[in-house]
Symmetry: C2
Subunit: 309 residues, 2 copies
DNA sequence: ACCCACTGTTGCGCATACCGCATCGATAAA
DNA sequence: TTTATCGATGCGGTATGCGCAACAGTGGGT
């Protein structure tokens, strides 16, 4: 038979307080409860732990050893439960998110900064990549959630619309179109168009937009990295179209951006989680922070807007 | 509210076995018991730990963390109890004994060797000193017990007679008395007597013996250490009288010993423990070994004899 | 010398925690 | 479709844990 946690805790309290009455007061239980618990412990261990002199109690040799062990066990339980409670409250642990580079670089940094300020013991892990890779991370469990565009729906994923991100025309600073307040896709189609690589979700949308505008615009050049596209635009090699959140990634070159209509094209960024799967508490806390920012209408770059359902 | 050890242990078993039924078989409890225990744990923690798919169970993120913590707590309890059981069975811990140098050097070494062979995880600590110091160690708790002569009885000490140790005459190898088989105290009184220091219990007995024999024998010389006395005897400066157990300590010199009568003088060596005080289990085990040696009549030096009550 | 205040122990009754049995609903395998 | 196996749950009996109250031993104060 093993000693119960209750018995060990009672014994530790009595031994430390050097008395049943004092220990009982501290533990908020009756003195008789402790008397019995310690008595039971002695019976279970088959040894006397305390020398009860009516005026005070003192430990036997076996009592000393038992105290050492009991303290370890009780402390292991106490600290373990504390640790667990913190985890369950989202105060410790890891948040693993997968996002598009634009979200990672533009939308998240301030979020993470705020989050880390509130929950310094939670590690944040960001895995950036393109849409397919990002969704894959969520599906295989590497990431707790994603913030990304979503092409095709999957019944293994659950979406929470987060933000609308409007495409804007990207032009060299001195380009004639830069004088306008608004530019159309038709306007862009008349210029050499600099596109991102075909695996990017942005590319899918620009292609569709040109088609919708009845224009054909085979890219004058393609680049995988948007900063590269930015560089090309700055060098005057052509124009491009990018979602508002991507604009800050275009680099330090002299590019400007203008509203882009006919049609107005938006991509939608969703929070994506695995369907029917509980999130780790820390991840829930992070998503709560995102929702909070949305509810408060926290500032976002021009062209982007929170989705309020 | 905290999770109980029972709940945590149940959860660990279920999580490891990846199933309630299998875990129940291992733990020798019914499946329903585990189902309830885990369910209770989830309720207490306020979070789902297991995804129950009718065919198998898998851990949620919170379940993983809970498993880590629960394993630590359960393991701390398991190993703590094991450690404690070993201590209580006298298989670990420390035996602290205080004894006269003669006992420490002559009687104990083989005992300790046997003891350590049987209980290798018990440390043995020997504190040797003269009777008063030895009894002091027991009284203040530094030593679990003593093996020593006892002058005055104390109600704070309890005695268990162990061995009788007869005084023998100690002579230079070439001394005329060495030709006899038996020597009397009167014979010794006619020679220069070499005594141990007045704080030794041996001295008290030699003084009393001379008085009883009607002889007066002021020491020709005194030394604190019996090996010194042995050296003096070997050098032919005189004779002495020592308990049989002390003889091996007289040193490598050319001394012989003979039976010493008129009167026969014995000192009694007792096991001495604090009255109304439980001994540490390992100490009890050591004393049991001593009793065992006595019961078996284990060999002792000529002149010494176990006391069998 | 007596009494009082304070200690831990113990008998008792109540609440509930715990357990196993039996059964149910769901689901994968045959 | 049937069957076997899984975990969940209703139920009743028992064990455990608790506080109250009465008790016994002891040291300090009068």
């Amino acid at each position: 038979m093993d000693a119960s946690l209750r018995q060990l805790a009672a014994y530790v309290a009595v031994a430390r307080a050097a008395g049943f009455t004092a220990a009982a007061a501290q533990m908020r239980v009756s003195q008789s409860t402790l008397s019995r618990a310690v008595s039971d412990l002695e019976r279970v261990l088959g040894v006397q732990l305390l020398e009860r002199d009516t005026r005070n109690v003192q430990l036997t040799a076996a009592g000393q050893e038992t105290l050492r062990v009991a303290e370890q066990i009780v402390e292991a339980h106490r600290s373990g439960m504390k640790q667990l409670r913190r985890y369950l409250l989202g105060e410790s642990g890891i948040v693993a998110m997968a996002t598009l580079p634009s979200v990672a670089a533009v939308l998240l940094p301030r979020m993470i900064s705020t989050f880390r300020g509130r929950r310094p013991d939670v590690s944040v892990r960001i895995m950036d990549g393109l849409e397919q890779a990002v969704l894959g991370k969520v599906l295989n469990g590497d990431a707790d959630f994603a913030v990304t565009t979503v092409g095709a729906a999957s019944d293994r994923l659950e979406h929470r619309p987060l933000i609308r991100d409007r495409f804007r025309a990207v032009l060299p600073e001195s380009h004639p179109l830069a004088d306008r307040e608004e530019v159309t896709w038709q306007d862009l189609a008349a210029e050499p168009f600099l596109a991102v690589g075909p695996e990017s979700s942005v590319r899918r949308l620009t292609d569709a937009a040109f088609e919708q505008a009845g224009a054909v615009a085979p890219p004058a050049a393609e680049a995988g990295n948007v900063a590269t596209v930015g560089g090309l635009v700055a060098a005057g090699l052509g124009v491009s179209a990018m979602p508002a959140l991507v604009l800050p990634l275009l680099g330090p070159g002299h590019v400007v951006h203008r509203e882009l209509v006919a049609p107005v094209v938006e991509r939608r960024l969703d929070i994506v989680v695995r369907a029917r799967r509980a999130l780790p508490p820390a991840a829930t806390a992070f998503l709560d922070l995102l929702q909070e920012a949305r509810a408060e209408g926290r500032e976002v770059p021009a062209g982007a807007a929170w989705i309020t359902d």
